[in-house]
Symmetry: C2
Subunit: 145 residues, 2 copies
Amino acid sequence: MRTPAEYFAEYLSRKGLKMTPQRKIILQIFLASSDHVSAEDLYKKVTHKNPAIGQATVYRTLKLLENSGLAVAVDFGDGTTRYEPNDGRGHHDHLICELCGKNVEIVDKDIEQRQQKIAEQYGFTLSRHTMYLFGICPACQQEEN
Amino acid sequence: MRTPAEYFAEYLSRKGLKMTPQRKIILQIFLASSDHVSAEDLYKKVTHKNPAIGQATVYRTLKLLENSGLAVAVDFGDGTTRYEPNDGRGHHDHLICELCGKNVEIVDKDIEQRQQKIAEQYGFTLSRHTMYLFGICPACQQEEN
DNA sequence: GTAATTGCAAATTATTTGCATTGCC
DNA sequence: GGCAATGCAAATAATTTGCAATTAC
């Protein structure tokens, strides 16, 4: 089974692009990041390991990772794009706490089926969707008293 | 029945704010705009009628309209916030053509119910959600041959 | 060797804000 | 009259891009 690094190297060479130390470091740290990192987050972590890496490189590498399929962009609606590793479990949606930012990944077959049906009703070919549920998580409900 | 302008005037006075000619014009043109305008779109239209109005005023007024409930912000995930009039029919989601940008407003009770259920499973109190379905509309499918 | 990549700084884009002036209520 | 609103221009924030110098293949 290919490691992500191998997979990325393959992707790059297939596209006539090159593997570089910067890209290796960024990928490594990206994969090790638990949760939904922004380019800025990742840049900070990366400069820890190698202060010479510029943020433009981080932005550019995240785009590459997204195109390669290793990363997925998520948009919570604040002005920042975050990325999460694509673990191959495929698509999922998000349930987000509006107070603490806690984030639960969700998938629901019923909803996906209905979405497909709705698109069909309008004659659309559905290619993708995003769904974000916003609310208050159990922990934050506790603290509200 | 209150007109939107009256409603807005009430809202403003309730908040100790003032109705101004600029706000009147912006509201009027906003309501007359068919579809999901950005601040920039609206600004262009508004300067047509009164070239002296600044874009900051348009941005500020859109925020006010949103807070008053007359406008709803929608975020399609390109970096621009769009607004649609809130016609009182309440919440809806969006089915968007990725080629021509055509936009269909959708509501589905089944999906909303499932969302509620999912949130409950995780102990969340659900306050709102956004859902965007992206695909290709019938017209654009035709042109693809 | 050569085209891709890098870091930097400057450019962009969408939006916000400070401030002196103007204008509702 | 007084506080809110305006227009402008400058400030932010996130991201992109131009470019000369470097480096992977």
